[in-house]
Amino acid sequence: MLETPSAPDPSAESRRARHAVFPLAVIELGTSSIRMAIGQTDGVSHVRIIEQLVRGVSLGKDTFTLREIRRDTMARCIEVLKSYRRKLEECQCTNAQHIRVVATSAVREASNRVAFLDRVYTATGFVVEPIDDAEIARLTYLGIRPLLEREPELREATTLLMEVGGGTTEVLLLKGRNITHSKSYRLGSLRLQQQLRQYHAARDQTVSLMEGHIDRTLEQLGEVIPQQGSMELLALGSDVRFAARILQLEIADEDLVRVPLKKLQRFVTEVSEMSVEQLMRRYHLELSQAETLVPALLTTVRTARMLDTDHVLVTGFNLRDALLQGMLRPGHWSDDFHEQIVRSAEEVARRFQVDLEYSRHVAALAQTVFRALIPVHQMDVRCEAILHVAALLHEAGLFIGSSGYHKHSFYMIINSEIFGLNSVDHRLVALVARYHRRATPKPTHEVFTELDRDSRVIVTRLAGILRVALALAQSRGQRIRQIDCTVEKNRLVIRAHGRSDGLLLEQLELRQNSNLFQDGFGLGVILRESAE
């Protein structure tokens, strides 16, 4: 038997310091549950999930019926989050940088969300970050991308990736691994269930009511689905995973299983004839799971029928996996992801009949200026993407009319779905486009003044760069194809290559339009011909 020391080993801390592997955690406040995933990583390689916890809390029931989160639901959330805090302490996961707490539609749409977030922070110390649909789509894409690359049947296919959540259904349409459409539908299993409850429909009517509602909501999807060629439906989410398991199709975390639609349909018919209590007893489900199972599966089946596919692909991937992987490289946007954003923005640009050749050229010039100025502005790739998208869409407003078109561009961008941009990014893109002409931000511009200071600086600087790029592309004939930029003393010196017919026009334009740039960077701008 070992001797029992009376006090802990004093070298424990130093030992721990040697541990190369550290814990990370993500907590997700969903519509019907609060889930936590704790992972471990050495900071470089893949995060391995070591614990997953789930507790039922019906935030969505409150929000989708009362529009606000009730006090006792808040108390329940706090109780769960406190227990999760204890679990994190047990795992020595206490570094706030390594813990991300996010909330989805049930919190985002609650009228008292600010009070809720404050209460949670006061009681638990957790800063809850409501994430919007675009962020979820971005994370989902990032998480699913390795699967798209790995699975031969998806590599070249047109795939509709769908996750039926409690409050919304996220849809990504992919051609190979490229996103061609991204949208979040206000069609969630819990929301649907709550809506139907208001009709007081008999059980035998609920399925047809649900189907009608699902079909009407997904009608718009028909507009973007290619009419020809076969499609794959890749379904994410705990309900469809559960169905696959019951149908004896085991799924490992990152694998894919093919569920025959007929089997899934039969299962849905079977479970839709059962009461919630029967479902709980038969399948050992929690109330929240039992309530949302049928609406979620019906949505999946109706979508599969719309796509005319005879099977559904199901994967074990979930949002928390993506959040954990994302924490390793906060703000890291890969080239591929940047490309997807641009692709999605170009889809929007096409819809508004933007001169894409021209706007791509503007974007390329703006990108060169942006990169040259990185030592000055220290902005990251996210800002570069915002500038890129703004450059592509700055003339979208011309679709309405030329008078004050920059204002049209602003609201058209605000109301467009661009994959990969969250609501803040979206606003920044619209404002950069808004300020690409003569007007400068004013105190009366509400959307601008509501931004925090950092975001206001970003808008000013990016709009300044966009104006410089526009000046260089003033002829619209791509006279200046290539530039070099250097910062010399208090000036940005732009050297244009390959021009022998003078730069007078562009220099004049620059002089007139560099004021915002000068305000943003405190630098003058000079355009010269390259000495080469």
Binding site: L2, P5, R16, H19, A20, V21, P23, R48, C91, R245
Partner: protein, 697 residues
């Protein structure tokens, strides 16, 4: 399924107890071990009456009119139990009085009656009566059955019948309870061996001193048994600890289920006691000899009689686990499978003791159902908590007959800073699992111990159980999730490898049985071998019947209750059931499914009874390491090959020896001892050849 396809569970249990009694009757067994088996038979019956008969009587009180799977009503079961137990009790006393007691006398262990005492012994008893017995014991007059004083169950009492008062017709009665005093076995001064007298004999001879001036008609010792089948109310917000303490109080005065009384009792005395305890004739056991044969176990432990016991067995050091290197290293190197008591339980204790003082250990989680009086495991958990580890103990307060002890530990652990969970509401946490979370240079590593027996290093010396030590990631993930569910941190989630009752374990077993059935239906081979303590669940039995009908070869080693009838034509011809009763209590639960050659092996805390599958938290754990898996299969096969202590069940419920006993017949427990000793010898031989230099640190 037709009721005739099942044995009644109570009668099946009684047949198990008969097999224990058969060990007591076996002349090949050493004398004091025979006495111990006799005592075990009696104390087993005590528990049977407290729990099972108590439960049946409760059903009668509730007016339960249902039938059990074998088609018997509750009353029919009570009657059948009474008939069977009466026969067993008669057999027990015949064995004791005709065989064991005379042989005990021969080896110097002699019970004396008052009339046989030497002068020295008489003086000794006289002194004892005056100084102790009269001071400690008090007669209680009994007038009215409705105001009957509290008598403890399973203790010896002496009933005294007094003559009626003048002018009255009715006898008067008094009771002298021995209670839990140490006056049952009184050791007498003797120069030749161990001589003793029973306390009730002394009281009977000196009873007049308790009732001076009264005419005593008769004195007779008796012993009664109370119902202990009481359940705790687990309402929302209720304090389970307080509720359990209430249950313990209730048990002291719950209704009587049995009266054992000496055949010296007069008819009026017997009638009075039956009325007093509200018993029917079937509940009364008139015995020719001392009541409470279970108490004789203390004689089996008398010093100086080793030649009349089984040779002392010291558990061997398990191969591959070096006592001087950290246990974590050994588990990291390979999964370890231990077979107790052939291999020492100390490795399991070491896991906790080392975890308690290891700077890299973050958390320990542990289930506790029954453990020993001075448990080193409890001590290690306390040390760990005091050292700042996050320690969680799931203490099952509802572990029958260990409730008081568990309440005490729970309080002690809480004081030391352990987070104590009193099991799960509405369910008993019977699973045996321990989890140590350690932060190592390459990440968090979870060390798991899964067992088939309790965390009790004392019973691990005479219960056969399996321990499985592993740090495999998937098992660690599952055990973390399981503890998170049991401790309320999370809802129960889908496991990768583990299966837990009441959600999933039954389904998994049925799925595994079904797989073998389908294989055989397809003309392929299917085979199931299992070792367990009880097989009662009709759902599982039916699945086994179907498997048998499909051609699956099923071999079962069921120590205790078996409601499955093997060898029934058209139903269970392919099922063979044997039972082993030997020196060590067979306790491991192991399942082996051929599974198309994959040879899946599982260990479990659960027996196949509805209570385990539906009302308890249990674990079914796959043995995933190849070497460990092969070893478990070898263990199972050896158990099935026993020809000395195994008995085969016939379709009529008789237990017969599988083959005529031969001198070289296989006795599995001896074979396991031999294997363990051989492995230990081989390991120590190789360590003698390998010198490990000690370097300065």
């Amino acid at each position: 399924m037709d009721p005739s396809a099942y044995f009644n569970r109570e009668l099946s249990w009684l047949e198990f107890n008969q097999r224990v009694l058969d060990e007591a009757a076996d002349p090949a067994v050493p004398l004091l071990e025979r006495l111990r088996f006799l005592a075990i038979t009696a104390s087993n019956l005590d528990e049977f009456f407290m729990v099972r008969v108590g439960s049946l009587r409760t059903c009668v009180r509730r007016g339960d009119s249902g039938v059990d799977p074998s088609g018997m009503t509750v009353i029919e079961q009570l009657d059948a139990v009474s008939v069977r137990v009466h026969r067993m009790v008669e057999d027990s006393y015949r064995l004791y009085l005709d065989e064991l007691d005379p042989q005990l006398r021969q080896i110097g262990i002699r019970r004396r009656h008052m009339t046989e005492l030497t002068q020295t012994q008489q003086d000794f008893v006289e002194q004892l009566v005056e100084e102790k017995i009269r001071a400690v014991l008090s007669p209680i007059a009994v007038h009215d059955p409705d105001h009957f004083p509290l008598l403890m169950g399973r203790t010896i009492n002496v009933a005294v019948q007094l003559a009626p008062r003048d002018g009255d017709e009715d006898y008067r009665y008094a009771i002298i309870p021995l209670g839990q005093s140490d006056l049952r076995f009184i050791t007498l001064p003797s120069a030749t061996g161990h001589e003793f007298i029973l306390g009730e004999d002394v009281i009977a001879m000196t009873v007049q001193r308790f009732f001076p001036g009264e005419e005593i008609i008769s004195t007779v010792p008796f012993r009664m048994t109370r119902n202990a089948d009481l359940t705790v109310r687990e309402d929302d917000g209720a304090d389970l600890l307080a509720e359990m303490e209430d249950v313990l109080d209730e048990r002291k005065d719950s209704f009587c289920v049995r009266l054992e009384i000496s055949d010296r009792a007069t008819m009026p005395m017997l009638a009075f006691l039956k009325k007093l305890f509200k018993l029917m004739s079937r509940d009364v056991y008139v015995v020719h000899g001392p009541t409470g044969l279970g108490d004789l176990a203390r004689l089996a432990d008398l010093a100086g009689h080793d030649q009349h016991l089984y040779p002392r067995w010291t558990p061997c050091a398990p191969a591959g686990i070096d006592p001087v290197t950290p246990i974590f290293d050994a588990i990291r190197e390979a999964d370890r499978l231990l077979f107790h008591p052939y291999e020492s339980y100390s490795s399991v204790v070491r896991l906790l003791e080392e975890a308690a003082v290891d700077a890299d250990v973050l958390a320990i989680k542990q289930t506790l159902y029954r453990t020993s009086r001075n448990s080193p495991i409890i001590a290690a958990l306390k040390t760990a908590a005091e050292n700042g580890k996050n320690v969680t103990a799931v203490v099952e307060l509802k572990a029958r007959f260990d409730e008081a002890r568990n309440i005490e530990w729970a309080k002690q652990l809480e004081l030391a800073g352990v987070q104590v969970i009193y099991g799960v509401r509405g369910l008993k946490t019977h699973a045996k699992a321990c989890l140590v979370v350690r932060r190592e240079t390459d990440g968090y590593r979870r060390y798991c111990h899964f067992g088939t027996g309790n965390y009790n290093e004392v019973t691990a010396r005479f219960y056969t159980d399996i321990s499985y030590l592993t740090c495999k990631e998937q098992l660690g993930d599952d055990l973390v999730a399981w503890f998170n569910a049991v401790t309320g941190f999370s809802l129960l989630q889908q496991f990768e490898l583990l299966n837990s009752a009441p959600i999933g374990l039954r389904e998994k077993l049925l799925e595994l049985i079904q797989f073998e059935t389908e294989r055989c239906k397809g003309g392929l081979e299917g085979q199931i071998t299992a070792k367990l303590n009880s097989l009662v669940d009709p759902g599982i039995i039916d699945a086994l019947y179907q498997a048998s009908q499909a051609g699956v070869k099923i071999r079962l080693n069921v120590r205790g209750i078996c409601c499955l009838k093997p060898g029934l034509r058209g139903i269970s011809e392919n099922i063979e059931v044997v039972s082993v009763i030997d020196r060590f209590l067979e306790h491991a639960r192991i399942f082996h499914f051929m599974h198309a050659g994959a040879n899946l092996v599982w260990i479990s805390s659960a027996d196949l009874m509805p209570r385990n599958l539906d009302r308890r938290i249990e674990l079914l754990v796959p043995v995933v390491d190849d070497e460990c898996r092969r070893r478990v299969i070898r263990i199972l096969n050896t158990c099935m090959q026993d020809t000395v202590k195994a008995r085969t069940i016939t379709p009529t419920g008789l237990y017969t020896q599988p083959k005529p006993s031969k001198k070289d017949g296989l006795r599995s427990q001896i074979e396991f001892q031999r294997q363990a000793r051989e492995a230990e010898d081989n390991a120590s031989e190789s360590s003698r050849r390998m010198f490990v230099p000690q370097f300065p640190t």
